[in-house]
Symmetry: C2
Subunit: 535 residues, 2 copies
């Protein structure tokens, strides 16, 4: 029996109540007399998150989010799917099933993201149809390929048709899409969007019947810009391990209320609204529903005291009360060790005019610049003084492809970094001041079966991400600490970026302008074609 | 292209807009500049109605409701199912498919209603499962058997389980159910209720997550009592033909607004709310949805000017613009013609003390009284002067069962009436002043293959209801006129009741106290057992 001030999203009321629980289910909810200090809330739902962004195996993710009141997430396993396809998705389902957190999934709609990169897997419309028949799959995942929708691409349409047949909704991803194009996108059957950055976008999409997810994650924080324009869910999209230590849905609620949202309206956006949309039994304090309940101190801080899942205490005062034993996953790395020479671009000239990827701090967008670089021993040299460094992407799924180019903006004065987190195909990406350190970093990464590496003159630090090269089996605390060590090394090496690994991870994302790089070469997003490094 | 002031239930706004339609679907909705006299509304949904109560075949029902802005109904074919089982439901689907109105159905959960009467069919949990696999079936129909739910009756639970397996909601019917019993009813998986008559009921049910349907039909008008307590839908439950001529959902909206409801909030209750609950594509002005659109003059009278269904004009200025050719249905009557003696109760005494069903005008409840009646020629005679008349129920599905008794409250001074509308098994029910007229009325009814009959001394008037003994293939106007003729006859014959046929139709409904009658005998609802006519 749980007693307190029940915050009831169905009727937007708060009153003293007691909740009777039997066999993990809510049996009865009764309004009572009494005065209580604590508030009873339905378990929180994050309706759109990529667990992989936390760098934590699903069970480790659960361990850190449940104490923050999260009892249910809808996760799009887009990243692991690009690495390992169905096998990766199955791992996510299996590992998540070892912990009390209710983890639902969407079937990733865009694997691979583009034909201009080599991914670890392709998920066809037929496989989407099979996936959507699983109970864990509650929707077709965010349809990022909006040009495909607008041009009636048969494979895109077949995936959406599979969702219709399986009576599951289709999540959207349509930044700045508007007018007739937006109408066409919606008419295809896409019913949510989480990419709004402007109030006008929220308003236009909601008028057309879309459900808008207000995003407040680690990278993109749109709540302040969007609050007051309406919205149906609050979601995170991506949360980094160090941020999860400070909060998850509890923090979104706190921030929404600080920004002026009514606490009960905010609560609806992380409980009954997503439950209704995805047809979930979670986030509902009602007879016959699983007893997923959060006790908070107040409706301002949303400080979580206790969390119940299926009627069992799952966390108390910030500590998860369930055991976590992440499942292992076989290595995904099919790549041989590299030599420094593999990272050289050869030339018979004395100098070369090259294209340079210009990183803009805090943005996914890049710009293109050019530089004249010297050639020594037949190799084009970086210009470390002017922050023109070497960058490489190495295919890691057994096809032995790689591309080298130049990048500006990292500010490294020496050493190199490498990562197996590189959206969306998650090949190996490396940036460095010289071929030897880059080679060392990449080889360590391969030895580690994935992760992040900093190498400087034979001195190597790393964070292992052996689960698909994306996730750790360690705790959020341990991963955050490892990350901090790496970041401190990088500051010592002169790096000017706040999150150099994250910035690097988006340099292979070919759908955001302007100059990017895949394992197949340097890519001009505006031309939507490859360009040469040497102009 | 349709232009006007769009009333948008998604965002609760009104603004000038144009709607582009292609191939019957909404292609685009655009906010425009301009000043318009007319309002564009999504097509109305009546989310709970028994079409049979209109006495009209579904296509004839469509003909009268579409001009009132109704473009979609969710109908529970409980009545025809009691008469003809799956065959009857299939008829409803087939006949409805001949007209533009979108007619969805719920699988009737309680056929037969009780084991104390002979129905024309039994619908098992296995058949429910089959039915729920049809696209036309959007829910399990109202679970009237709440004692069965509370006692975990295996067949009731199997029907609810079938709904869960088929991912369809379960409609409720739980008048005055409260507290722990209500919690148990909800926990079983029942998510709506349309039987609230008190504000407290609405509030309690909504707090527990139920969706409450506010009822404003022909018999039960609860809107005035419930408005302001919250509510998710406005529905009719039952509408009689003469009332449908005056309005349907348009009238509910008008009445809700007159009672103080916000027009857009009221509109949500007959458009996007039921659409979301039953997962319908109707009632939504959004890209990719069928162009079901209503043009009204204002948001006070809700006077309907034009109705579009699937992009085609379906009604204008009160007239349906589609052809209606109701399908025929084979007769359901397996009963031989009767003689007056069949309606006599024999006695060897001079007088008998008998139980009498006491009708209460305007209520489904009855009372029990007793009377001492004279015996002539070995037959107990009615006492017409004191309004103690004869009543009979005759099984009509080939089992040759019938029961005779006495009733008080009709006030007939001569003649008799008979009807094949008699909830829930729809056997033949007749009330009269003498056995000859009763026999004449019943025989005419059988000859007509169902309907309503008034007989007096060889003079017989009738309304034929050949579709299952419940529905006519005539227009609403014709049926209303026939009904008026019958009612006028009855006034001439001394009848004191406002709706004698409707009152009679509930005298066989064994679930509402106190004294009722089935083909198997006189039934004491409080004892839940049969009792003898002679005390």
């Amino acid at each position: 029996m749980i007693r307190g001030n029940l915050v009831n999203p169905f009727t937007e009321e708060i009153y003293p109540a007691e909740i009777e629980i039997r066999d993990g289910m809510i049996e009865c909810v009764r309004q009572i007399e009494g005065s209580f200090n604590q508030y009873i809330l339905p378990g929180f739902i994050d309706a759109h998150i990529h667990i992989e962004s936390s760098m934590l195996a699903p069970s480790r993710f659960a361990e850190v989010v449940v104490p923050h009141g999260t009892t249910c997430v809808v996760s799009d396993p887009h990243e692991i799917a690009n690495v390992m396809g169905i096998r990766g998705i199955k791992y996510m389902i299996e590992d998540a099933s070892t912990v009390p957190l209710n983890v639902f999934f969407t079937a990733p709609s865009c694997v691979p993201a583009t034909p201009f990169e080599t991914s670890g897997a392709v998920i066809s419309s037929k496989e989407i149809d099979k996936l959507l028949k699983c109970g864990e799959m509650v929707a077709l995942g965010e349809m990022m390929n909006f040009p495909g929708v607008l041009s009636d691409d048969p494979e895109v349409m077949a995936k959406i048709a599979a969702a219709k047949v399986n009576k599951k909704p289709v999540d959207g991803h349509a930044p700045l899409l508007s007018g007739n194009d937006l109408c066409k996108y919606i008419a295809a059957g896409i019913s949510t969007d989480h990419e709004c950055t402007l109030k006008e976008e929220v308003i236009e999409k909601r008028k057309l019947g879309m459900k808008v997810m207000l995003r407040q994650g680690s990278s993109a924080k749109n709540l302040a810009d969007l609050i007051g324009a309406g919205g149906d869910f609050i979601i995170s999209d991506d949360k980094h391990p160090e941020d999860l230590l400070n909060g998850h849905v509890d923090l979104m609620l706190k921030e929404a209320v600080e920004l002026g949202e009514d606490p009960i309206k905010a609560l609806k956006m992380v409980t009954i609204n997503p439950a209704a949309h995805y047809d979930l039994n979670n986030g509902l304090i009602a007879p016959g529903k699983p007893a997923d309940i959060v006790i908070v101190e107040d409706l301002k801080s949303f400080k979580v005291k206790e969390v119940y899942i299926n009627g069992n205490i799952a966390a108390r005062e910030g500590k998860a009360l369930f055991s976590v034993n992440p499942l292992e996953l076989e290595s995904t790395f099919k790549i041989s060790f590299k030599k420094p020479v593999d990272f050289d671009i050869l030339s018979s000239k004395k100098e070369e005019n090259v294209r340079v990827i210009n990183v803009i701090a805090g943005q996914l967008l890049t710009e293109e610049s050019e530089a004249v670089l010297p050639v020594a021993d037949g190799k084009i040299e970086p210009d470390v003084e002017n922050d023109i460094l070497k960058i490489a992407v190495l295919e890691r799924y057994g096809h032995n492809k790689m591309a080298n180019a130049f990048v500006h903006g990292f500010g490294l004065k020496n050493g190199a970094i490498a990562s197996s987190v590189a959206h969306d195909s998650h090949n190996i990406i490396a940036v460095g001041t010289n071929s030897q350190d880059i080679s060392d970093a990449v080889n360590k990464l391969v030895e580690n079966n994935g992760g992040l590496v900093v190498a400087f003159n034979g001195d190597i630090s790393s964070l292992k991400l052996p689960i698909g090269g994306l996730m750790s089996t360690k705790t959020a605390e341990e991963v955050a600490l490892d990350l901090e060590v790496l970041h401190n090394c990088l500051v010592d090496m002169g790096c000017k970026l706040h999150s150099p690994f994250m910035t690097m991870s988006f340099l292979a994302l070919l759908v955001i302008p302007k100059l990017k790089i895949s394992d197949m070469g340097l890519f001009d997003v505006e031309k939507f074609d490859f360009v040469d490094v040497i102009k």
